[in-house]
Amino acid sequence: MTIVFFLVNSIPGDPVSIMLGPTPSAEQIAEVQAKYGLDKPIYERYLNYLASVAQGDLGESINVNSGMPVSELIMNRLPITLLLTVSAFAFAIATAVPLGVISAKRRNEPTDHVARIVSLIGVSTPSFWIGLMLIIVFATHLDLFPSRGLVLPWTEPGTGSRVTRRTETRLEILVLSVKHLILPMITLGTLQMAQIARIERSTMVDTLQDEYIKLARAYGVPENTIVRKHAFRPAQLPVITIIGLGLSTALGGAVLTEFVFEINGMGRLIIQGIYQRDYPVVMGTTIVFGITYLVGVIITDISYAYIDPRVKYGEEQ
């Protein structure tokens, strides 16, 4: 947070000149600077900011939405980005785990080669390009999905924008939400899917060569049972780690995905904040991204214990 504060404040460009345009008087500039505390030395601003954050006050937006509390801005945008990110991970895990397992089971067979090529393409293709292609094919040409925006599934039927105002039932809202979500979800989730699939494959390959697996085979346990009952869970530890680490990449990827699909979530908010030198917005979004990442790491750690009984917390070993 400290680094971000000083970095953002050291970027050339002045939020007041962006806010007031080209014709402000000296009095106007002074007044706006005083209003947002920009007339104080940077160390004082930093200490004031820390004090405000400690009291839960993230300040007011200077330019993105002049005068709007940053916390309100974030509360508006965070659900959108969380919905996108969580869906993308759900898509990634749901496709990558079977892909990796099948790949490991059919090691060096055509199925494995196809799966590995799919993973390779997924890892090496920029997400924004995937997004563009999806829009061209599925939104513009086939007209199957909307090309922009997101619908939150908990929107009340008959309320909101024209898209949701014309609905009458929760089911219609849900259908709309899914329709809007599919393309951005695939865009953001493809890289995660590819990375998870590769790790899944390699850990499964290793696990399937462990001594206890060989013993199970020697006892004549069917291969499918071995994979499902004995190999799958222990093989998930590295995968969980990758998923945890992937959370930070996904938040970065959300910025691009939100741009491509014109989704006004946290990703666009932080970019707008940077462009418009809206220090409180940049700081607020950075803090929230940081907290989100930490939560992701904690969930990952807790998942270890669930997946592998050998991992225990809070007990003497």
């Binding site: 050339p12 924008s161 014109e262």
Partner: protein, 526 residues
């Protein structure tokens, strides 16, 4: 205000002109619907936090506010003059041009049922200065305002400000609703216009509905309007193609033909009240010498640059004045069009040598984050390299950085920059802000020091006689163009992609004006 249209062209791939499909996406149908004939208008940018004309500025918010609020006067169809809106008849102007008096129509009421009174007008014009809002500069030429009676208001100016008629288009708010309730007012605005506030969702949409008890003659045909915004050009164009939008704002040059080729979409466009240009640093460095500026003019072809990167979404402009002002003031645009040189590299080289500029000089050209203005800068850069200069730095800066640099007058920061200006339909807006010496470091980054020209510009602001003003502006502009303080470049159309089921939609030269129900049109969604 300076034009600040940042374009992130991430998706030109979408400009591949897919066949238009009228099949509606579920929940995104255009045209008639269960909720009446509502219009979905897609803007380029998002809105300010408060829909309060006293504090809000920026085109997107103004486009919404224009529907809710009214001014004493408004622009006519081609923005060449003002016409009464809340006012009854023309304003009366004293001989010295300092006192302006306007009457308010008896029947004018706000959406809360209150009459529009002189007290509301007085409050609306005083509030920006009293509250020191960003809009104070719009009305700070007023010394005092007097409510003569309930329906008569008198403005006393600090000096005879000749363009005050355009100031009279300022939005009027109900004092009883806003005074003491400033914060809330912007989130639940009340005006006297034909459309009233419903709700907004930050970053998502703004919704207005028809005010059925509107006091004026022109009841809107549409039941309401929803504004949303899509910053990326290709996505916006895709939206009109797929039926996600009924009208989209700004058809970019690279997609113009695609939109023209769509079966169910037409383009409505009017030349804006704008001006885009290449400016020189006349303060420091070689460009302080008019001969060097002329050499730069020879080094590249502005015509070719505009033809390649701006048309058909804009037009070549040879003076600081957009066409609407040229027409209204009968300026000698044809003569001004003769001033720029055709590209002649040899001639450019000769002039640089004469001026003593060595081929090792390090040029520095800065441009804002806008594709068209970047193209102009790049053309200059290429021309200079063709002349033989080895060190030409050409930088596309983002707005924050650009605005910090462009008016310093320092050779280290820039030799040339490209920028744009949009203003009121008066020559003052395109001379005072760009060339007046008192605005160096603010909006004038040229530091052009010609006292005679400066005097003409300053005097013309306060000259009540239009013919005298006209002559002053012509004389000043002749010198400015001959001295090549700027190389005028282009002006953009205010352009809109309009679905065929939307009838009577018209563009307007004032980018903040989206005419929905006026004396010259009434939009409907069929």
């Amino acid at each position: 205000m300076a034009q600040r249209i940042s374009e992130l062209s991430r998706r030109r791939l979408l400009a591949s002109g897919a066949a238009a499909s009228a099949v509606a996406i579920a929940g995104c149908t255009g045209g008639s619907s269960d909720d009446g004939n509502e219009l979905l208008f897609t803007q380029e940018k998002g809105w300010a936090y408060a829909f309060d004309p006293i504090v809000a500025n920026g085109v997107p918010t103004a486009q919404v506010n224009e529907q809710i609020y009214e001014g004493l006067y408004t622009y006519n169809e081609d923005a060449t003059d003002i016409v009464p809106e809340l006012a009854d008849g023309e304003p009366e102007v004293s001989d010295d041009g300092v006192t302006w008096t306007a009457e308010i129509k008896d029947e004018a009421t706000f959406q809360n049922g209150d009459d529009v009174t002189a007290e509301d007008v007085k409050y609306s014009f005083e509030a920006p200065v009293d509250e020191e809002t960003e809009n104070a500069a719009e009305v700070n030429m007023i010394e005092s305002i007097e409510a003569i009676d309930d329906k008569t208001v008198e403005f006393n100016l600090e000096y005879p400000y000749a363009a005050f008629d355009t100031t009279l288009t300022w939005s009027i708010v109900p004092k009883s609703e806003r005074d003491g309730n400033e914060e809330e007012f912007g989130h639940d605005p009340v005006g006297s216009g034909p459309l009233q506030w419903v709700e907004w969702e930050d970053g998502q949409y703004v919704m207005l509905e028809r005010w059925d008890d509107y006091w004026g003659e022109e009841q809107p045909n549409i039941s309401g309007i929803e504004f949303d915004f899509v910053e990326e050009q290709s996505t916006r164009v895709t939206g009109i193609e797929t039926g996600e939008s009924d009208v989209i704002e700004t058809v970019p040059p690279q997609l113009w033909e695609d939109v023209e080729g769509m079966d169910d979409v037409t383009i409505e466009s009017s030349l804006g009240i704008g001006y885009f240009y290449l400016a020189f640093n006349c303060n420091e460095g070689p460009t302080a010498d008019p001969q060097v500026r002329e050499a730069v003019d020879y080094a590249f072809s502005m015509d070719d640059a505009i033809g390649s990167f701006v048309e058909p979404a804009g037009v070549r402009q040879y003076s600081p004045f957009p066409q609407s002002i040229v027409d209204a003031w009968d300026f000698p645009a044809d003569e001004w069009a003769e001033i720029p040189h055709d590209r002649d590299i040899d001639q450019a080289r000769e002039l640089f040598e004469d001026a003593g500029v060595g081929m090792d000089y390090e040029w520095n050209i800065i441009v804002p984050p806008d594709d068209m203005r970047e193209a102009i800068g790049e053309s200059v850069s290429n021309g200079l390299q063709e002349v033989g200069f080895e060190n030409v730095t050409f930088e596309r800066l983002e707005w924050g950085t650009f605005l910090d640099l462009y008016a310093t007058g320092s050779e280290d920061d820039y030799n040339m920059y490209t920028l744009g200006w949009s203003g009121s339909p008066d020559p003052e807006a395109f001379t005072y802000y760009l060339f007046a010496q008192e605005l160096e470091e603010s909006t004038n980054g040229t530091y052009y020091r010609n006292d005679e020209v400066d005097q003409l510009i300053m005097d013309a602001r306060e000259e009540p006689d239009q013919e005298t003003r006209r002559e002053m502006y012509i004389e000043a502009t002749n010198t400015i163009l001959e001295d090549r303080v700027h190389l005028p470049a282009y002006n953009m159309y205010n352009s809109y992609g309009v679905a065929d089921y939307v009838s009577d939609f018209q563009s307007h030269p004032d980018s903040a004006t989206i005419p929905l129900s006026t004396h010259f049109n009434n939009v409907d969604v069929e």
